[in-house]
Subunit: 203 residues, 2 copies
């Protein structure tokens, strides 16, 4: 990922926050010269990504043990030169795009055991339901045993040994403060509060 | 991309709309066994993607003429079993994730000519500025000539011959109407109006 120094995201906590806030990864594996893309919600636990795919998804048959990249993206926005207060003075501005992105690279390993599948589904459920519904969170035991068994039979668990982390926060850091503040205000005005918040953290 | 029939997005107009509404592509190329990822705004014009990268971005040196995949993603959301009205009756539900995605595959070709760069920057500017600012749109000629020349010297244009289109709209189409409507209402309640609108189009 092309990352000029001023756009490098070097804050480990922020990198983890981006992945946690935008957990639907675009997973890419090159198999026999073709890109196989899947969009999969994952959790990043210590140095591993965990998740599951449908048994009907060929990914576990064609990509087991292969290197993959999991791509995470926070809110993004086109940035108009019109928004910079200094534009009227210098006119030395062009359009750009702001975004944050994390690319996690590592080996993808599938696991068909019931133990692994239960562990992954349990962790994902606890995380996403807990965050959303707290004490009212849906639990696996809410569903009948035969139904959950059927569901588990139809998935495959996976984990990824995260070997390389790339992260970029392209958030107008290269602008002077008047222009930077104006962009942040525009993000709020457009309802892109999460992007604005990421900028706010930097000013 | 694993795409059960009921989640296949087969509406060409909708596929174009997703790309147009979420134009910051995650571009992936496998080079010497490693995934090179870049996040690049593009336009899909007829059967080609067009865009540009920084001259400092190695992509044009290492991936010219190679196959690439450009990934576009609309709004997505975790879907809780608690949201289904039928849950209380059957408890036969598990969590899932809704999203729309388009993966465009094709050969990536770079062009260093001033003509190509001007054409790409002109089309991108006209499209994004026009959509945002209408009659007040920023134009290249707003900037001093020496500044624009310097900007053009520091980019490389590219185009992608789109050879394969994969598209998926995973929007609870496999749910009965009470549950479907409840999910759509939840999307609105969470401010995910674009996701809700894509569902609305289907009901």
């Amino acid at each position: 990922m092309y990352t000029p120094t001023h756009f490098a995201e070097t804050d480990d906590a922020e990198i983890r926050r981006i992945v946690a806030a935008y957990p639907l990864a675009s997973c890419v594996v090159a198999v026999d010269g073709a890109y196989v893309v899947n969009h999969i919600p994952v959790l990043w636990v210590e140095d591993r990504l965990i998740g599951h795919v449908a048994l009907n998804n060929d990914l576990h048959r064609i990509a087991d043990g292969m290197d993959a990249v999991f791509i995470f993206r926070a809110e993004d926005s086109y940035i108009s030169p019109n928004w910079y207060p200094t534009k009227a003075e210098t006119h030395r501005h062009v359009p750009t795009w702001n975004y944050s992105a994390v690319n996690l690279h590592g080996r993808l390993d599938f696991d068909h055991t019931r133990k692994a599948k239960l562990a992954v589904v349990g962790q994902l459920t606890k995380h996403f339901e807990g965050a959303l519904n707290g004490d009212e969170a849906w639990k696996m035991r809410d569903a009948p045993r035969d139904y959950m068994d059927g569901m588990l039979d139809n998935i495959v668990a996976f984990s990824v040994d995260v070997a390389r982390v790339e992260a970029k926060s392209k958030l107008s850091q290269n602008r002077e403060s008047r222009d930077y503040d104006a962009v942040r205000d525009q993000m709020h005005a457009q309802g892109k509060h999460d992007l604005a918040r990421r900028m706010g953290d930097r000013s």
